[in-house]
């Protein structure tokens, strides 16, 4: 720094420290991550348990269910895939559905990636792959600025590793518990309830509500279409309706102002 001109704004403009230095393990930041993520771990484990039960109840073998939780590691996409697998939908329809459900992660990745652009490609890929909703949301709360900073990587992994472990432990417990529970208990319904809990916060405004109602209606109307195409049609028509509703509300707001 330049002696008397040193102040906070100067600190922000200072060149970033050497990458090796900012990415060194920072025990305090890691513990902060663990601490901030702790209250969510029980919920994550329980949500994993529900998905684990739903997987075996929809007809997957224990080996398939274990493979799915370890490889796919995305609860809502897994739940969305289960009825399609049970109905014998083609693999590409399941894939497109999973992509649609996962598109919210693209927004997270746009926001998270610039924080870690100096890391090697393989590491960036793995960190992105393991960043679920909770990890992304809590990280962005703590570090809104993209400036490289010591402890960021440790904080992220402090959130991520326990989150991954809680999810897998819950999920694996659910797989084994689910295969022991009789089907008449209707435990598969817990998966539907879990989807509703994910869905409700996504309906944050009126255009989203329009989209959700239209998508639900089209899905019911088109349920008998071959290859489960009614589902993909529902997503596309619902999305277009939501965007049209947004345009319309924007226009109405503009007219009221003018």
């Amino acid at each position: 720094m330049h002696g008397q001109s040193f102040d906070m704004t100067e600190l922000h403009r200072a060149p970033p420290p050497h990458p090796a230095e900012i990415d060194a393990h920072d025990e305090a930041a890691w513990r902060d991550g663990l601490k901030d993520g702790m209250p969510t771990l029980f919920g994550i484990g329980a949500w994993g348990l529900v998905v684990g039960v739903a997987m075996v109840k929809s007809g997957l073998t224990v080996a398939q269910a274990l493979g799915m939780t370890l490889l796919a590691f995305a609860g809502s996409a897994q739940l969305a895939a289960l009825p399609l697998i049970a109905a014998g939908a083609p693999v590409w329809v399941v894939f497109c559905t999973a992509i649609a459900v996962n598109l919210r992660f693209v927004i997270f990745s746009v926001l998270l990636a610039p924080h870690f652009q100096h890391l090697p490609l393989r590491k960036r890929f793995l960190l992105g792959y393991a960043s679920g909703d909770m990890t992304s949301a809590l990280f962005l709360q703590r570090y809104p600025s993209e400036q490289p900073q010591r402890g960021k990587l440790s904080y992220l992994t402090g959130l991520m590793y326990p989150n991954w472990a809680a999810w897998q432990i819950g999920s694996i417990a659910g797989i084994f518990a689910g295969s022991a529970v009789p089907a008449v208990w209707g435990l598969g319904f817990a998966g539907t309830l879990a989807i509703l809990c994910i869905l409700v916060p996504l309906v944050a405004n009126r255009p989203a509500l329009v989209g959700v109602l239209v998508a639900g209606g089209v899905a019911v109307w088109g349920h008998a279409l071959p290859y489960k195409l009614g589902l993909l049609a529902a997503v596309v028509v619902g999305m277009v309706s939501a965007m049209a509703a947004e345009e319309l509300t924007d226009k109405l707001k503009g007219m009221r102002r003018g």
């Binding site: 029980f42 949500w47 398939q64 490889l71 796919a72 995305a74 739940l79 697998i85 693999v91 894939f95 559905t97 999973a98 992509i99 459900v101 996962n102 598109l103 992660f105 693209v106 927004i107 997270f108 990745s109 746009v110 998270l112 990636a113 870690f116 652009q117 890929f125 793995l126 960190l127 992105g128 792959y129 393991a130 679920g132 993209e146 208990w185 209707g186 817990a190 309830l193 809990c197 994910i198 869905l199 409700v200 996504l202 309906v203 255009p207 989203a208 989209g211 109602l213 998508a215 639900g216 899905a219 019911v220 349920h223 589902l231 529902a234 997503v235 619902g238 999305m239 939501a242 965007m243």
Partner: protein
Amino acid sequence: MADWEIWLTIAALAVATAATRASFWVVGHHINIPKRVHEVLRYAPACALAAIVAPDLLLDPAGQVHFEYSNLKLVSALVSVVFYLLRRNMLETIIFGMAFFTALRLLHVF
């Protein structure tokens, strides 16, 4: 589905996770996404989840729509959504919803 088809589907799900979550991590630098694209990214997940749940709640195995009280899944789901809106807690909602659904089923209320 045959065993190998299910494994292929599981692999496809893994690709769907990696392709969405790691997308811009692989690109690396800061990107401003256009408004239209942002709208698609924001509304698609809600629409996809609604499209999954709606047939499950409204249709019987024969494909008939049931909009009445005797549809226990629909009644339980609507009550659970209200519960979630009040409590904002997924775990409590699942436990409440399952208890409610089981009670309706066993007590033959409707």
